[in-house]
Structures are given as structure tokens and as C-alpha cells.
Amino acid sequence: MERYIFYILAVLLIVSAIAAVSSKKMLRSVIYLLFTLCGIAGIYFLIDYNFLAAIQLTVYAGGIIVLIIFSVILVHHIEMELEVAKLSKKLLVGAACALGLGVFLATIYAHDFKVVENFNTTTTEQIGLKLLSYEAGGFILPFELISVLLLASMIGAIVIAKGKKLVKSEKSNVESIQKNNN
């Protein structure tokens, strides 16, 4: 049963990913990406990492995708067609990617993974203890660092997106336009 679910998920993943990178409609491409991310969340569910799946859904599907849609709507008309690369470039890049994929897969299949048979379930508690542990192997320091990074990026995003104040000349332009209108 799980096996078929995985295959279905895998096909969904790959098809929607291909659609996401080749769709000409911007917003559709974002939605295809959403499908891919959800598929990935499904895989996390399948291998019993429920917490991770939840994060994937909330942060990626709920946060990042919304952010991207938001920016798309800000800078595009929804129906805008995307410019597409030349066919020759597509073929060249496709060939390079296929070559890279070949190398990857050949390497993976040549390697003998020492798989440990198990069906452990990882609880959120374990992850939380590990994250906040300050003993050997604990992740308290990276955790704190990541929180600082998030704060910094938040401030940075605000500062960058806010942009420059309107300079005087522009202001006066605006005023003159208003006057003209009056």
C-alpha cells in the first residue's frame, strides 16, 4: 500500500515540478510548485517524520508560497505570459542536466548503502529536546543562531522593501502635477 502511495507521490512530485519550471503562466507555475511541496510533505509523512511534514506544510506551503504569490501579484498581471528561453538553450541545458542526473544516479546505484531496517517513529518531543539541548550533540547554539538570522532577515526584508524615500525633485514633480490637475 505504502509503496503505491510513494509511487503516486513521486509521479505527482516530478510532473508538477516539471510543470512548475516550464509553465508559461506565472501564477500557475507557483501553484504547481505548491503541489510539489505538498508531495514532499507527503513523503515526510510516509517515512514517519510527522513534525517535519507539518513544518513543510506550514512554512513552505503556507508561508513561502503565499509570499511568492504575493510578490507575483505585486509585480505582474496575473495573466501575464512569461518569456521563454530559446529552444537551443533549453536543449543544451536539458542535455547538461540529463548528464548530471546520469552521473548522480550512476554514483548512487554504485554505492552500497548500509540500510538499517526500522520503523521508529520520531516524536516532536525528541526533536524539541534535541534542539534545545546544550549537552554534547545538542543544537542549542545553531538554534539560537537561526533565530537571530531570522530576525536579521526580517529587518533586512523590511528595510530593502521599504526602499528610498521620495527625493525632493520627485516630490516637487508630484506637487506640480497636482497643481496642473487643479
Binding site: V93, L99, G100, T107
Partner: protein, 639 residues
């Protein structure tokens, strides 16, 4: 005995230089003239006070004139070798102080009249201050390095003053010529200094000149190409001195240096700076005398004698009166050199040394007088050339009389200053080297001839019609002339042999009547010939010149020495050697570098398209590279 106040003698002119140099535009010309004269007057009074203290009060201890040195270490090279700065007081330095301060003061006073109305009046006095500072420092130097420093300073001020009329191309090129030629000679001086420092471990004159010192006793310890290393050093130092004192063949700058204002010619190129070379040899005289039995001293003697004759011959043919005086200066400097060259060390043997210093002293007086007189004449007729002069005795009585006194003095007329000093030189030469004595007598006759040639040419001769009636120069110019005339007449009676001698003990000098008679006769013959040729306008001189024909032409063109130098520098050095090296540098060295640069530009023009600015292109290259590297490491790099 404390001679520390002597340091003020050079420092006061330096202060004048800075004052006038910095406030060049602020100070009124009249004031700057007074400042210059006042500064030199103070230095002069101090010099005379020093001379009195030294020669008559403190200097003599147990019958020997002592050397007083006040110095401070300036730079330490090794434990033993250091450069000091200080003042050295001994007979020749005190004597030079007197000479320099008298002449410099006279020139300062004279310049107030001569330079009146000149645009750079203040600048001129500033330069004179700088020069006075440098020459005082040179005279008082305690060691070779200090003298070298001031030597170069003197060269610089000479350069500035020769090129004083810097809008005149000939003055500029003359200044450059003087600087380059003396600089070239100073290279020898510097190498000599370094050799001496290396082999003796000291630069101090006191240590070096001590006849019982290690420097002199151990001269044979090192040899190079058959001569002692110290002899080489002394020869090199003499090259430096020959450059400054315009000895053959480094004399070519002196005639051209006459492009400077005439007072400058009197001060620098007649009386003080050009005797620096003589002073240098005199300063190191014990070394010259004792090392290798005076080998280097013989060179000094022969170079001096040859230069003396050579210059005297050229002087006869020149028509520019300042150039005649310049060659006369060169000739008299040769005289001083040859006197040093034939001198011994002790007692009466050291007559040549004393005579050289004596002649330096008297020559400074009468040659400065000649130049200032010539300046007065030039001031009146606005020309340097004999053809524009004649019959001036009616218009300029004071100049006429003073010029005559100077001419008599240089010609060695009995009882003038030049008579005594020249006689001592000839006696010294007679006692040591008959050949040089012969040259000396010949030069004495030639000197009398060419000097009276220009005297008659200027003040007698044809009655030239002048556009503006010449008139006597102002008081500020005639007073120095009168003072110097007085000195030219009577400074011969100073008992030099008891004051300035090589061994410092002093001796009684007597006139050698037969030799004096010969010299005077020769001198009178010279004067007489000049009388016959030039007293009245006639064509005797032209006929005579035609008899000598090519020789006259050679001498007129200064034996083509300038042309030879030009040939050597332009054709051989510049075109032959430097030109080819420059070509090599431009074509091959630069060419290689430029080729590399050009190729880089060409290649970069071709490949710059790769920097498209598109992030994806870069990313593609990056990923492709990663894939290729991964393949290499996985499949090809398997051990």
C-alpha cells in the same frame, strides 16, 4: 680657547638668505640691500675679530699655530666612523674667512649700485646670502663630509647665480653647464672621500693630516694598480677640486659662467668659490705631501702649470673682457695649484704652500677688483666686448685708476700685492722644478700682456663714439673699488710666511732678488708689448695674429675644447651609447611589456562577451563545472 662664536659667521648670511628669500615680495629692494650688507658686515667683523684672536692672541702655543676644533657628532656610521658638524680654526681657515668676508662685503656693497632697478634685486641678495653661508661653511668644515656638503651648496648657489638672468637662454645653459661639469668632478671627490673613509676610518682633517697619524704612516698598506689606495683617493679628490677650480680639462664651465651678473663673477668665479679647489688641496696638504712621496702632489703641480699656461694663451685672444678675466682667473688658479704642487712641508721648504695661500689672498683682492672694475665699465657702456670700448679714461677716472692698480698687481709690478705672492711662487717653483718654473715665468709675461691688452683696450686705444656719454659709476660701486685697490696695493706686505705655513711654525721669507728681477722684467716686457700693440689704435696686433695664423684661431676658439666636449657627449655618449641603449629600452624592454599588455587587451576584448551579466550563464558554467569535476573524480581519478 673658545671659538664657538665662529658658528655665527656662516649662520648670519644664512639668516639673511631665509629672511630675504621668504619675504622676497614684502621687502623693499632698498631695505633688502641694507639687510644683506649689514649681515655680511657682522660676519666680516666677527671674521676679523677671529683672525686677531687667532693670529695674535690665542693661536700660537710654543711657536706653533694650533688647530681648534669645536664639533658635534651628526651621524654615526660605525663605532669609529662618524660624520661631525663643527668649526675648525687653523691658519688657512681663518685666512679664508678674511678673504671671503672682505670680498663678499665689497660685492654686497657694489651690488647695491650695480643691480639697482633690477627686478630680482631682493632675490639676488638672498642668493648672495646663501652663497656666503655655503662658502663660510666650506671654509670652516672639520671633516671631508662636511666640506663636501658645503661644497655642493656652493655649487648650487653658483648655479642659481649664473642662471640669475633666467630668461636668457645662454645664461640658463651656462648655469647647467657649470653645474653638470662640477657635479661630474664632484663624483670623483665623493669616491675619494669614501675610499679615505674606508681605508683610514675617519673623515676628520685633524686625524688625517697628522704627519705621525696612522693615515699617513700606513699609506703603503693598501695598493691598487701600482699606487697606494690613498693616492688614488687623493687624485680623485683633486679631480673634485679641479672641477671647482676650473683646472684643465674641467675648465670649460668657467668662461660660460660669466653669463651671471658681474658682481657674482667677482665673488664666486674669481675670488672665493673657484679657490675652493686650491683650499681643498691645501686643507689635505700633509696627506698630499707625505703619501707615496707626493705622487698626487706632482699631478697637482703639472695640472696646475698646464692649466695656467693654457688659459693664459687663450686669454690673449678673447675679445669679451669678462672672458679674458675668466681665463685669467683660471690661469692664476693654475698658479696656486702649481705652487702647492711644488711645495715641501717643513720650514722654508714649505714656501710653495705659503706662496699658494698668499697668492690666493692677493689674487682674491685684485681679481675681485678687476671684475668689479669691468662691471663698472660694462655698466657704463652696456657691452662686454672690447670693440665697443676705448678711451674711457676720460669718462671714468676712478675706475681707470683702480683697474690700472689691479692690472699692475696681477702683472707683478714691484711692491704691489701680486708682486710678492707671485715672486714667492716662482721661488718655490725654481727650487723644486725648473720646468714648472719656466712655465711660471712664461705665464707671468703672458699675464702682464693680456691684462694690459684689455686695460689699454678699455681705457685708451681708439676714441669710440658712444651713444650715451659714459659716466663714472655711483659711490656704492666706486667705494668697493677704492678699498680693493688699496688692498691690492698693500696686502703684499702682510707677513704671510709667519702666519700661514704648512707646518704652522712659520719662517722668515726674503725676496729672492735675481728671480724677482727676472719675473719683473718678463712682466714689464709683457706690459711693453701691450703698450706698443694697443696703446694707440693700430693694426700691429692684427698683423701679429696673422703671423700666428692657425694657432691664433685655435686659441681664439679656446682650442676647440667646447667642441670636443660636445662631440664626446653628443656624438659618442648621447647618439652612440645612450641612443642605442634607449632604443633597446624602447623597442625590446618596453616593446615586450607593451606587447604583453596589448595582447591582454586584445584577448580580453574577445572574451569579455562571456561576462554577460546574466546570473544564469554564470550558474550554468558553475554547474557544468561541478558535473565535470564530479565525473573526473568519480571515474577518472580512481586509484
Amino acid at each position: 680657547m673658545n671659538f664657538t662664536y665662529i658658528i655665527l659667521i656662516p649662520l648670519i648670511p644664512l639668516a639673511v638668505f631665509f629672511l630675504l628669500g621668504i619675504f622676497n615680495q614684502k621687502i623693499k629692494p632698498a631695505v633688502s640691500g641694507y639687510i644683506g650688507v649689514a649681515g655680511l658686515l657682522t660676519s666680516g667683523i666677527l671674521s676679523f675679530y677671529t683672525a686677531y684672536q687667532y693670529f695674535f692672541v690665542h693661536g700660537k702655543v710654543a711657536g706653533v699655530y694650533q688647530t681648534f676644533v669645536q664639533k658635534t657628532t651628526w651621524m654615526n656610521f660605525t663605532d669609529t666612523l662618524a660624520i661631525d658638524m663643527g668649526v675648525l680654526v687653523d691658519p688657512i681657515s681663518v685666512m679664508m674667512l678674511i678673504v671671503v668676508s672682505i670680498i663678499s662685503l665689497m660685492v654686497h656693497i657694489y651690488s647695491r649700485g650695480y643691480m639697482k632697478g633690477d627686478e630680482g634685486y631682493t632675490k639676488f641678495f638672498a642668493y648672495l646670502g646663501l652663497f656666503s653661508f655655503s662658502i663660510f661653511g666650506l671654509v670652516l668644515a672639520t671633516n671631508l663630509f662636511q666640506i663636501y656638503i658645503f661644497w655642493e651648496l656652493v655649487g648650487v648657489s653658483s648655479y642659481l647665480l649664473i642662471g640669475y638672468y633666467y630668461t636668457k637662454p645662454s645664461a640658463v645653459s651656462a648655469a647647467k653647464k657649470a653645474f653638470i661639469v662640477t657635479r661630474f668632478a664632484d663624483l670623483g671627490f665623493l669616491i675619494g672621500i669614501l675610499i679615505i673613509g674606508y681605508y683610514t676610518g675617519t673623515y676628520d682633517f685633524e686625524t688625517l693630516n697628522n704627519p705621525e697619524g696612522s693615515a699617513i704612516l700606513n699609506w703603503a698598506a693598501t695598493s691598487f694598480m701600482g699606487l697606494s689606495a690613498l693616492t688614488w683617493a687623493l687624485i680623485l679628490i683633486f679631480i673634485g677640486g679641479a672641477g671647482k677650480s676650473a683646472m684643465f680639462p674641467l675648465h670649460i664651465w668657467l668662461p660660460d659662467a660669466m653669463e651671471g651678473p658681474t658682481p657674482v663673477s667677482a665673488l664666486i668665479h674669481a675670488a672665493t668659490m673657484v679657490v675652493a679647489g686650491v683650499y681643498l688641496v691645501a686643507r689635505l696638504f700633509p696627506m698630499y705631501y707625505f703619501i707615496e712621496d707626493g705622487f698626487a702632489l706632482n699631478i697637482v703641480a703639472y695640472v696646475g702649470a698646464f692649466s695656467s699656461l693654457f688659459a693664459a694663451i687663450i686669454a690673449i685672444t678673447q675679445t669679451d673682457i669678462k672672458r679674458v678675466l675668466a681665463f685669467s682667473t683660471m690661469s692664476q688658479l693654475g698658479y696656486m695649484m702649481l705652487a702647492l704642487g711644488v711645495s715641501g712641508y717643513e720650514g722654508h721648504d714649505g714656501l710653495g704652500y705659503m706662496a699658494s695661500m698668499f697668492h690666493l689672498f692677493t689674487h682674491a683682492m685684485f681679481k675681485a677688483l678687476l671684475f668689479l672694475g669691468a662691471g663698472s665699465v660694462i655698466h657704463a657702456v652696456h657691452s662686454n666686448y672690447l670693440k665697443d670700448m676705448g678711451g674711457l679714461r676720460k669718462y671714468m677716472p676712478i675706475t681707470n685708476v683702480t683697474f690700472l692698480i689691479a692690472a699692475l698687481s696681477i702683472a707683478g709690478f714691484p711692491l704691489t700685492a701680486g708682486f710678492f705672492s707671485k715672486d714667492e711662487i716662482l721661488v718655490a717653483a725654481f727650487e723644486h722644478n725648473k720646468l714648472i718654473y719656466g712655465v711660471g715665468v712664461l705665464v707671468a709675461g703672458l699675464t702682464a700682456f693680456y691684462m694690459f691688452r684689455i686695460y689699454f683696450g678699455i681705457f685708451w686705444g681708439k676714441n669710440t663714439q658712444y651713444k650715451h656719454t659714459p659716466h663714472e659709476s655711483p659711490l656704492s660701486m666706486t667705494i668697493p673699488l677704492i678699498i680693493l685697490a688699496f688692498l691690492s696695493l698693500f696686502s703684499g706686505f702682510i707677513p704671510f710666511s709667519e702666519l700661514v705655513t704648512a707646518d704652522r711654525i712659520g719662517f722668515e721669507a726674503h725676496l729672492n732678488y735675481p728671480l724677482a728681477a727676472i719675473a719683473v722684467t718678463v712682466g714689464l716686457i709683457g706690459i711693453g708689448l701691450a703698450w706698443v700693440f694697443y696703446k694707440k689704435e693700430n693694426d700691429l696686433s692684427d698683423k701679429f695674429a696673422n703671423v700666428f695664423g692657425p694657432f691664433y684661431k685655435w686659441a681664439y676658439h679656446k682650442f676647440y675644447f667646447d667642441e670636443i666636449y660636445m662631440f664626446v657627449t653628443k656624438k659618442i655618449l648621447f647618439n652612440g651609447i645612450a641612443g642605442n641603449i634607449a632604443k633597446f629600452d624602447k623597442k625590446i624592454v618596453d616593446g615586450t611589456m607593451e606587447g604583453i599588455g596589448n595582447k591582454t587587451v586584445v584577448v580580453s576584448e574577445k572574451i569579455k562577451g562571456m561576462q554577460s551579466g546574466k546570473v544564469q550563464d554564470y550558474a550554468f558554467a558553475f554547474i557544468a563545472g561541478v558535473v565535470v569535476l564530479a565525473m573526473v573524480f568519480i571515474y577518472l581519478w580512481t586509484n
